[in-house]
């Protein structure tokens, strides 16, 4: 088992003929992901890594019954790509694209929810169920199938923690990068709820960072709903206030959104919070045997 993506995933790539899209399609196909279709308007009939290209998502879904879509189009086309996917019946949309204006994402967020679909990202590395489906830009080989669910706002930092987990013999059920923007489709809480319900996830790792209060909200959710052992890490203990740390959402503003508050909230919710990514596997094992 796993959450969101698995062997039943029939993946569509929006923006498949672009530089990023074609590169990562090849990578995903090589990993074994069931990539069934790609879309670039006007490129019908082409193939990328053996995957047929269509003009519209509607055509692609009709021809291939794709149920999941990953988006690699430039930022100014990303909201339209998300609408196209959702309106064509795609249930799970992963938007890798970085740099989408926040004002564009506000209506997108609410529209996607209203239509009953799920969006992950934007500005995220995607998600992976090791051994089944890699739907994103993460290096597949560092992941090992297993029982640890991982959810993170970060990219490379996630790989760091996944690598440490795998080396410690802690494989992953699914690892989800939810993205570093202020408005993202899927939150920590959404993923924690899915992991809590997933019978094959036995423990959960959560990687947060400065900015917003999603970690605090997650802590409240954990106290009330999560019974599985958890470890976590929050990046940005040394970040100054008022400065954006790379991610559009990683900013301490008006004194709110500090790492200290987030760590405190998670600890109070029973999550073992690491000082350094390397401590995560040890803390998780502690939690699992507690």
């Amino acid at each position: 088992m796993s959450i969101l993506v698995n062997n039943d995933t029939r993946l569509l790539v929006q923006g498949i003929t672009g530089r990023e899209g074609s590169f990562h399609t090849t990578q995903m196909v090589e990993y074994g992901t069931n990539v069934v279709a790609g879309v670039t308007p006007g490129r019908k009939g082409q193939e990328i890594a053996g995957v047929p290209v269509f003009d519209t998502v509607q055509d692609a879904v009709e021809a291939t019954q794709a149920n999941t879509s990953i988006i690699y189009v430039p930022a100014r086309f990303a909201p339209d790509a998300i609408y196209e996917a959702v309106d064509s019946g795609i249930e799970l949309v992963i938007c890798i694209t970085e740099g989408v204006p926040v004002n564009d994402m506000v209506p997108v967020y609410h529209y996607v929810r209203q239509q009953g679909a799920r969006l992950i990202g934007p500005n995220c590395p995607g998600l992976i169920t090791p051994g089944q489906a890699k739907v994103g830009i993460m290096p597949g080989f560092i992941h090992k199938p297993g029982k640890v669910g991982l959810v993170s706002r970060s990219g490379t930092l996630t790989y760091e923690v996944v690598n440490a987990l795998s080396e410690a013999g802690l494989g992953q059920s699914t690892a989800v990068g939810i993205g570093g923007d202020p408005v993202i489709g899927t939150s920590f809480i959404d993923c924690l709820a899915l992991f809590q319900e997933d019978p094959d996830t036995e423990a959960i790792v959560m990687i947060g960072e400065i900015g917003g209060t999603d970690e605090e909200d997650a802590a409240a959710f954990i106290s009330a709903n999560v019974t599985k052992p958890m470890a976590g890490f929050i990046a940005g203990q040394t970040a100054p206030p008022g400065k954006r740390m790379g991610h559009a959402g990683a900013i301490i503003s008006g004194g709110a959104g500090t790492a200290a508050e987030k760590m405190k909230a998670l600890e109070a919710a029973g999550v073992r919070v690491a000082q350094s990514p390397s401590q995560v596997p040890g803390l998780l094992q502690e939690a699992m045997s507690a």
């Binding site: 930022a75 100014r76 740099g99 989408v100 204006p101 926040v102 004002n103 564009d104 994402m105 506000v106 209506p107 967020y109 609410h110 529209y111 830009i137 993460m138 290096p139 080989f141 993170s152 706002r153 970060s154 990219g155 490379t156 930092l157 996630t158 790989y159 760091e160 690598n163 570093g180 202020p182 408005v183 990687i207 960072e209 400065i210 917003g212 209060t213 999603d214 909200d217 890490f233 990046a235 940005g236 203990q237 040394t238 970040a239 100054p240 400065k243 954006r244 740390m245 790379g246 991610h247 559009a248 959402g249 990683a250 008006g254 004194g255 790492a259 000082q275 350094s276 990514p277 390397s278």
Partner: protein
Amino acid sequence: MNVHEYQAAKVLATYGIPVNPGKVASTPDEAEAIARELGGTVVVKAQVHTGGRGKAGGVKLAHTPVEAGEAAAAILGMDIRGHTVHKVLIAKGADIASEFYLGVVLDRPNRKVLVMASAEGGVEIEEVAKTNPDAIVKRLGDPLVGFRPYQAREMGFEMGLPADKINGFAAIASKLYDVYFNEDATLVEINPLILTGDGQWLALDSKMSFDDNALARHPDTEDMRDLNEENATELEAKRNGISFVKLDGTIGCIVNGAGLAMATMDAVKLHGGEPANFLDVGGGANASQVAKAFTLVTADRNVRAILINIFGGITRGDEVANGIREALGQVAVEVPIVVRLSGTNAEEGKSILAEAGITAVTSMDLAAAEVVKAANG
């Protein structure tokens, strides 16, 4: 991106929000001439991208044109929280009967846009939030049908505005919401929004920040950028696709990925050092990006050692190592370098670096400890 008060006022005025008319001066003579033109008592205000101008002496009242010139002379060149004053705004003194706060900002937990107001104007909203949170009235714009006039009226009634001031307040609040959305702001704030002695609404001071990701569709906003207010190194980094934030420590950091870059800073601190910067070199970490990163980091005279932390994912460790070697051929780096390489082909990478005489380790904690030792040594 931030803009100055005088620029924000211009934006408000284009939306029909009443602002206090004023002009900008770069010299005391200009200030005096503007004061003479405006007539009467004027206020001379430092134009800097930071708060706390008043406390720092950056806002002065002047009763005559000569006094205005003197005030400008005192303020121009002043350092306010690390910002040098290059311009002052000269505006007519206003007859303040009462002061309010009005602001529009993203509400992240709700994924909606929040309009906030308070009858405690002229004070920072964060301060009011701490001391008297009930004084703040809030309404969320609906993501699909917007911020509705009735919501603005409700806010006015909750703040205790007299009945004949409700519609004027509601109109300004609705227009400010439009400014936020149409201009792709991340914050718009009027503080104080005042009622004058003769019962008129006036935006006396305002603040705006804009979404960097939306600047491409707002060339007018980009035109308002004040390069004096921006860190030259950060701008230079941005032009090269690198995220860079200057900090006060001694250990330069070069990392791939924003989250990992923050975690690297944290690790430096955990091992007793102080990071000199946040730096996300982006995805590739090739020779030219690393060379550019070296240039950015070594421009800071405080840097006594550099920590390069690369997690090899799609990019292989040996490629990164070669990139670092090549970059070192392009940029003279005179402080010790510690490299942490992990992930794909990390071992091959470390061998390549060892041949070049560079310490390379696998553990991030070990690398942090090493670099702190190197900086102190």
